[in-house]
């Protein structure tokens, strides 16, 4: 037994020092006091008017004390639970969950190879893959259901498509406050009522402000509804550095944090203790192609820094990884997805979304979801760090086997090689074996695996009576909006 020892139980990584985080936090407080944010929602403006905030027309400026007070009221732990009660996901500091992104308008068609509108069945299939692949912890719709009867109710149909083949916890998008209410009611059907949903929420509501410092009516409507019902929700700024935020990473982080903190105060005024989650897709506008980049190294850097800030603030973090600007699943996709997946994981963000995105957040690819499964496995294996206890130092074994000895037949190897990552898609065979098996590339193997899963996997079905109740909520919405 030794004293004064410290042991890394995992790999460690951070971008910002504590002093830097404080600087960014103080700067964000300054932004809220001096610059403020605009809000296009009457009730929200009323809530601020009745507080110590200063409201001029639609612009709200918030004193630092209100932010500091509100920050004390948010949970540091949320447990999400899938619809069959089995797939639960703990959201708490440094516990990482991976999941897809949502609402991609296009899908890469596996049969024709063409890009086309995303349909109900594409979302259902994405859910099936997410359910089947163990490294995915939560599901966002991946695509947006383009064949719903009405664009005002597509979110309910999309939620049905998501639920059909996926039993994992979810992050959902909604059209507006009414849409979120319907999704929440559907969630309550599955979780066994409003109270059960509050203890074990099926989903987190995805809501975003408009950078810089703008809060539109529907976003605030959703946020206030989530606060009222204590539905976990994230208010996730999506600034593009150089266009809707300063071109410096620090400036973007300050502004994005100010946008988050405005929601922190607003939700507190509405209903203290609602489970608000911090977010941020913090990246750059490509200055050559004028696109919002999902593969830029700055996305990884700013996102990891943002997660450092979230941990300091004791807020649960929604971050980004596994995504690319590449139009197809190719070398660029692999490089970019691996990079942002890796650093998002090491940063310790709690919900890492957009895994599998290609074409800078416009195109859905089921193959990409499957390829990322392998990459998530690799990243997780790296995060395990190195155990240096006696058993793992293997001093006696080294002595026993001696110079020129071998380890492959030892019990020690038999036990510990199982700690290694076992690839399922990577090819590590010798040249001849690879050639004899058809000289398959990664993409070939990904295709085969995707088809196999789609053909053979079936998730636990939803109970008939629950399905009827869900359908009724959706049908009623369609009637209201007909």
């Amino acid at each position: 037994m030794k004293i004064n020892q410290s042991i890394n139980m995992s790999t460690r990584f951070r971008v910002l020092s504590e002093d830097q985080i404080e600087e960014i936090f103080f700067a964000a407080l300054e932004v809220l006091e001096r610059t403020g944010g605009v809000i296009y929602h009457e009730e929200a403006l009323e809530l601020f008017k009745n507080s110590n905030a200063v409201v001029r027309d639609k612009k709200v400026r918030i004193p630092a004390s209100m932010v500091e007070e509100a920050l004390n009221f948010y949970p540091r732990k949320i447990t999400l639970k899938g619809r069959n009660g089995k797939r639960s996901l703990q959201l708490q500091k440094d516990t990482v969950g991976f999941g897809t992104g949502s609402d991609l308008p296009f899908t890469y068609d596996r049969k024709t190879g063409e890009r086309r509108r995303t349909l109900y069945n594409d979302v259902r299939n994405a859910g099936k893959l997410v359910d089947a692949l163990p490294n995915y912890d939560f599901f966002m719709s991946h695509g947006i259901v383009g064949d719903a009867p009405n664009t005002q109710t597509y979110d309910r149909h999309q939620f049905l498509a998501m639920l059909e083949q996926c039993t994992k916890p979810m992050v959902v998008t909604s059209v507006d406050g009414e849409g979120l209410e319907d999704l929440w009611r559907m969630g309550c059907v599955l979780q066994g009522g409003e109270e059960e949903f509050r203890l074990n929420p099926l989903f987190v509501a995805y809501i975003e402000p408009i950078s810089p410092l703008k809060n539109d009516r529907t976003a605030v409507e959703k946020l206030l509804f989530a606060a009222e019902k204590k539905i976990p929700a994230m208010y996730t700024p999506c600034p593009s550095s150089g266009a809707t935020a300063p071109a410096t990473m620090a400036g973007m982080l300050v502004q994005s944090l100010a946008e988050t903190l405005l929601a922190v105060v607003l939700c507190h005024l509405k209903n203290p203790g609602m489970p608000l989650i911090m977010g941020g897709v913090t990246t750059v506008l490509d200055m050559k192609k004028s696109t919002y980049s999902y593969g830029a190294p700055e996305l990884s850097l700013a996102s990891a820094a943002n997660t450092d800030i979230s941990k300091w603030l004791n807020l649960i973090m929604f971050s980004t990884g596994g995504c690319t600007d590449s139009k197809v699943l190719d070398e660029q996709a692999a490089a970019e997805q691996m990079m942002n997946l890796f650093y998002a994981y090491l940063s310790g963000a709690n919900l890492i979304h957009d895994v599998g995105y290609i074409d800078h957040g416009t195109n859905a690819s089921l193959e990409s979801l499957v390829m990322n499964e392998e990459m998530m496995g690799m990243v997780r294996a790296f995060g395990k760090g190195i155990n240096t206890d006696d058993e793992h130092m293997a001093l006696d074994l080294i002595e026993k086997q001696g110079p020129g000895g071998e380890y492959v037949t030892t019990d020690h190897t038999f036990e510990h090689w199982q700690e290694w990552y076992r690839p399922t898609l990577q090819d590590r065979s010798d040249y001849e074996t690879w050639k004899n098996n058809g000289s398959k590339t990664m993409i070939d193997r990904v295709n085969e695996r995707t088809q196999h899963l789609l053909d053979t996997y079936e998730a636990d079905p939803i109970k008939d009576d629950q399905w009827k109740e869900l359908k009724k909520i959706v049908d009623d919405a369609d009637k209201r909006h007909a």
């Binding site: 020129g404 492959v408 037949t409 090689w417 010798d430």
Partner: protein, 214 residues
């Protein structure tokens, strides 16, 4: 007393070294022929192992544990087997050529052969050409395995084959090559019979070849 040889196969597949030794000893105490213990108990077990290995359902440490169990069982069984019963699987002389001190690939192959029931004579690393010729003369194996990891030591393999020819014993053995820089083309070029791209495939390649010769 009735004895279930299937149990020997099953135990072999689980890789329990001591259990398999005990079972083999128990089987010998019955009136089951030692040859049947090998052919209906142990070898079918190893067949299962090699099939699972090939399908990717078993991993190297597991396979080698089974091979170890097989080796242990053979120690018990070998004294009771006749020459012809022993010859059922075959004998292999295996070694790494002169100038090369790398042995893990060669040793893995040796263990795999042992596991498949072969009588394995592992002559070790850095072996001069004459040592291979001498071992073939002495042990009369069906197979000679040579490995090299260095491109600088690869030519020694061709020299050994020539020495076998000069000694007039080239036709008595199938020569199989292995090692990272070795290719099928190279093996053909220097007049070897077989080439295994990895330690795991050597046994199967050899087995197919020997069966095709019968």
């Amino acid at each position: 007393m009735s004895f279930d040889l299937g149990k020997i196969s099953e135990t072999l597949v689980t890789g329990k070294v001591d259990d398999l030794k005990t079972l083999t000893g128990q089987a010998l105490e019955t009136d089951i022929k030692p040859g049947d213990i090998l052919n209906q108990g142990l070898l079918p077990g190893m067949d299962t192992v090699s099939q699972r290995w090939k399908a990717g359902d078993m991993f190297m440490p597991e396979v080698l544990r089974c091979a170890k169990a097989m080796g242990g069982a053979m120690e018990v069984l070998r004294p009771h087997l006749s020459e012809s019963e022993l010859g059922n699987a075959g004998t292999i002389v295996i070694g790494t050529v002169a100038g090369d001190l790398h042995d893990i690939g060669k040793d893995l192959a040796a263990m795999m052969f042992e596991g498949a029931g072969y009588n394995v004579i592992n002559i070790g690393i850095d072996q001069p050409n004459e040592a291979f010729v001498k071992a073939v003369k002495e042990h009369k194996p069906n197979v000679l395995g040579m490995s090299a990891l260095l491109t600088t030591t690869m030519p020694r393999m061709g020299e050994v084959i020539n020495s076998l020819k000069e000694a007039g014993i080239r036709d008595q053995v199938a020569v199989i090559l292995g090692g990272a820089p070795v290719t099928e083309e190279f093996a053909k070029e220097i007049g070897a019979d077989l080439y295994a791209p990895n330690a795991g495939s050597a046994v199967e390649i050899t087995k197919e070849y020997l069966e095709s010769k019968v």
